[in-house]
Symmetry: D2
Subunit: 366 residues, 4 copies
Amino acid sequence: MSTNWGRNYRISIFGESHGKALGVNIDGIPAGTKLDLDFIKEEMQRRAPGKSEFSTPRMEKDEFEILSGYINELTTGTPLCMIVRNTDQRSKDYSELAQKMRPGHADYSGLMRYKGFNDIRGSGHFSGRITASIVFAGAIAKLILKEKGIHIGAHIKSIFDTEDRGFENKDRNPEVFESLRQEFLPFLNKEIRVPLENKIRAVKDEGDSVGGVVEISVIGMPAGVGDPFFNSVESELASMMYSIPAVKGLEFGAGFAIAGMLGSEANDEMYFDEDENIKTYTNNNGGIIGGITNGEPVNFKVAIKPPASISKKQKTVNIVTKENTVLEVTGRHDPVIVPRAVVVLECATAIVMLDCLLEAEKNKGL
Amino acid sequence: MSTNWGRNYRISIFGESHGKALGVNIDGIPAGTKLDLDFIKEEMQRRAPGKSEFSTPRMEKDEFEILSGYINELTTGTPLCMIVRNTDQRSKDYSELAQKMRPGHADYSGLMRYKGFNDIRGSGHFSGRITASIVFAGAIAKLILKEKGIHIGAHIKSIFDTEDRGFENKDRNPEVFESLRQEFLPFLNKEIRVPLENKIRAVKDEGDSVGGVVEISVIGMPAGVGDPFFNSVESELASMMYSIPAVKGLEFGAGFAIAGMLGSEANDEMYFDEDENIKTYTNNNGGIIGGITNGEPVNFKVAIKPPASISKKQKTVNIVTKENTVLEVTGRHDPVIVPRAVVVLECATAIVMLDCLLEAEKNKGL
Amino acid sequence: MSTNWGRNYRISIFGESHGKALGVNIDGIPAGTKLDLDFIKEEMQRRAPGKSEFSTPRMEKDEFEILSGYINELTTGTPLCMIVRNTDQRSKDYSELAQKMRPGHADYSGLMRYKGFNDIRGSGHFSGRITASIVFAGAIAKLILKEKGIHIGAHIKSIFDTEDRGFENKDRNPEVFESLRQEFLPFLNKEIRVPLENKIRAVKDEGDSVGGVVEISVIGMPAGVGDPFFNSVESELASMMYSIPAVKGLEFGAGFAIAGMLGSEANDEMYFDEDENIKTYTNNNGGIIGGITNGEPVNFKVAIKPPASISKKQKTVNIVTKENTVLEVTGRHDPVIVPRAVVVLECATAIVMLDCLLEAEKNKGL
Amino acid sequence: MSTNWGRNYRISIFGESHGKALGVNIDGIPAGTKLDLDFIKEEMQRRAPGKSEFSTPRMEKDEFEILSGYINELTTGTPLCMIVRNTDQRSKDYSELAQKMRPGHADYSGLMRYKGFNDIRGSGHFSGRITASIVFAGAIAKLILKEKGIHIGAHIKSIFDTEDRGFENKDRNPEVFESLRQEFLPFLNKEIRVPLENKIRAVKDEGDSVGGVVEISVIGMPAGVGDPFFNSVESELASMMYSIPAVKGLEFGAGFAIAGMLGSEANDEMYFDEDENIKTYTNNNGGIIGGITNGEPVNFKVAIKPPASISKKQKTVNIVTKENTVLEVTGRHDPVIVPRAVVVLECATAIVMLDCLLEAEKNKGL
């Protein structure tokens, strides 16, 4: 079962890269929500291919159609289904790829899972293209959260060996988030962009690819949202983040670095600020303690592996002939997927935050 | 909702540190499963306090009682409920802690979540003691997995600034796993133990604490288990791992390091071994691609923060007087929780693996 | 949350009567299932309007389009989404109905639920038209069940005051089921049809409507499927049946009549037949005891209320003017919905039976 | 999976008739709820055996112990687990019953489900005794609902061939409900009690048993609770009601009788009362239309089969010798279970209503 996520803001996704369409059925949008379609289109465009020299030239416009749950520019409260038709899926010959498993791709694991019946054209249901559904559902969640004063921002913390500085408190405001959102390569330290572009170009010319880390921050979340144990905010976010293809690491607050700290360093000491709000001096816990928000920014980092599609020769198996072989995948590939992943991670975060907030409404009791 | 986990092997936990009892109701144990109670007791003892100079001297024997679902040394297939009575919960005076929030603990977030009604004695439901239920359910899962040739091993990858080497293929066998299981400080490189113990002793003497990283490996998982997107094996494991108190990071395979690799390095090239099994030369994906197992060991690392309970003075807030204040928590504390966490993480892993395997049975269709 | 049903064969529905489209996303179809599209179309046509003088003349062809999860005439195992475009939704003026609540309809309860934002054209998401999604998903389930020797049959047990005889064992075979399936008014006693048609014509001429009871039988279900308590086969069927608009009663086996029996009559005595199969002399329990199938036919009856849309004058409220008023709904209406409901109930049953069978696969353990 | 029910007020049950204990883990009780333990004990006593000449003389006191989630007479908001020790489970010799399947009992279906490993002593997990957990959880739900002005009442609509009159509006108030609650045989028409008792005595003397119908009414539910389709209030109630052993029929409002009405009779016409509340003249829909409450009393009837345990000789099978045989179960049995079922059905109703109300809180959005 790969299809449904959420307790309160529930999504059900479908689609393949080269099938007729992909989409999502969303349950739990409050009735009477005004949808800013321009904002949603912008978010969809941030993920769409063809935006840069570093993304595949496939010219999908990713135009979505809302089939239900929406009338007079307002949501009805009943399920809202959105589809995106695939228009540029010129499928090449897949006979070689049906036999030779591409390293780093889900070709072999998918074959075992689906007994060879899954659609392999353009990676089928395993394609990153399916995340368009997450972006759509998350863009709506973002709009709802914004009304509550909750904002999600993200920047690229690193690509390959180039490091951006981390989010500081001064960066955590809607203006900076919006300014980062306008960039294809959103860095806090702007100076690293040009040298990095040159580096990526070189990697691309060698038919290779690079990964990176994205840092995400959510501001405005009230304290007291989430649960200990199985529905901790961390569990919910992790369940969603690890649903996104290519994610291989996730850490909250100080993350792995906290394992090297003393308790006296790691503990976030507390104080009342001038407005009698409870704050912490540090945020090593990433805004979540005991699975529950404490009112500090929810902060986490996600590691994304390099795109598995490279044009370099690679050793692999031919599952039909049962022989070891070599594969050379032709065509143009994204040398880096991190920039397009940023909006996916942001929107995925919005889905989770909205779901947790709705749960908290329920937890208040009657 | 903090209580239930699982689609197929389902657990429902309860309890507080100083309440009458803690326990777990387990649904989905196959009927007729023989329970090796000695093994389960051993696992419970690995987590129990009082085993070392570095764990709290609270002398809980953690003796469990099975209330249902078990007769003639076999499971019935109906819900199996287990409880552990709390016997050594000499509650001290909690009047100060009801006002002063302990930094790093869930005191404040829990207060906001439960409106001040939650049990704060010994951290109540937020206590690591509640993980005894996970150990119990996971020990049963381990027994079932073992019958299918699936084994789970773990070692401490680091504590504070002391690093163990990582798992290598030679380490991934039931014998090494069993030998690690016998140790309170399970390292692959045995030479680091004594100097580390001295270091922890020093930290303890200063009233401080340290965290660490645990590396877990699952061998014997067949390929084809799991799903893309929302029920990826990574999502399921992450949802469970981030349910465990003090976990702040999780990475699969190469994890965050994969973000610094080239695609040609990160992709796990494939080959047929002499027995016609499909293998990969590397395992940067940690045995999971596209959310689905590929037959390689499932490998991941978990970062655990230092115990929040330290005796050093800390700045915090008094929520009654609304003043900034200083807290000094007396009493003896675990200077490190990582060793006791190892069995919790292993057992949590077993629960997830069993759940995913049962799901795969269903996915085979009728 | 009105959208998702199922643990193993999971459906997520959407759509409104006069929106762009309705449809369903199905998760859990085994990979490699061959779909007999002609059969599915036939089932869709059985539900479609315009088939008889007694059903609305709206000329929807209910042509479905499969968007995903299906390639080369086989399912892929990944989510299969189907949509039906609404083509004949000539929306009349809804300004009166926005104010005057139609008795028997969900106008008022829906208004309260969705704060007035739900689509009211043609009853919107409350329309019986949405059951086309259930028919589609159920038709696929029927095909899968048929391969396992499991067949679902139904007849109209009563309409208004006309009673058909009940299913007898001689009727419970694929041939009779198929022959009933071919009829718009499927009765076991064929002689009641013509007089009943005259009666319905008279009701229709008076601008009124009639309800009825449908009896459903499932043969071929193995013993041992289902669970005691919360996932009893009865609970699962009931949850689904009461999801279908206009259903107001459901009884298994002897149903309400069993409340008037002695235990010695109600208990289904058992015997070995000549083939050493365990059988019961009677089937007052409807093939389910303790929530679990016993190998006898699963038999139940469903009460369907008369269509709420009638052209007679009715007393109601005007929610805008806050006045008591009278409503007269013009246009042509179905005088009876029972015949079109038969296929919906059959298909709904198929969904549940498949879900329970998949659960039983899992319950077998590893 | 037989164990868990609920989206918001979630229960997880366990236990066998002759095991160590039965109980329930409850998740979702609002923090700070005051529990009236005397009321809960009363409800438990209403279900307990030994209260009348018509219930088994097993002298279980059904004393419950709360293990968690409760301190200082208030709920903590974290899981509340309750157990009842079995004290009077003098298990007789079950060797005959292990071979001879009791007609009407889940012996055979349970054997097939659990492969013969389930506990058969006193019917094990299939025992009606397990409903004590439902009563406990439902008694708490009743207390919470009462605070919101929501009350649940029930009376016995029929036993065998003796009929009580149905609920009328004058009966639907907390006082009548409370007065019915005090009676072992709660009838609206008090005159039928004595003749019925004589009839039951006669049935008992013949070693036989009788069933009946219970009518339940919920007053005070606001309009707008529930959802169309898969989480209709009817679906939720039905899922729960059919979880209770011996339930074979369920109808809402006019129920099966509505199938014989004209639309003009069945439709509940509407009006504003003097306080500008929207009301209906009739309540054939049982307070639920389109799956959603309309503010009228939620009204439904439940058919309960005669206790399967009778002392008359019955034909059955011996599954070991594979022979047809005759079974005569000795010992004293309940000739009627309906009176003890009343409180179970009331409490089950309370669980569902609370769950739906909490869902409605969430549906309101942020």
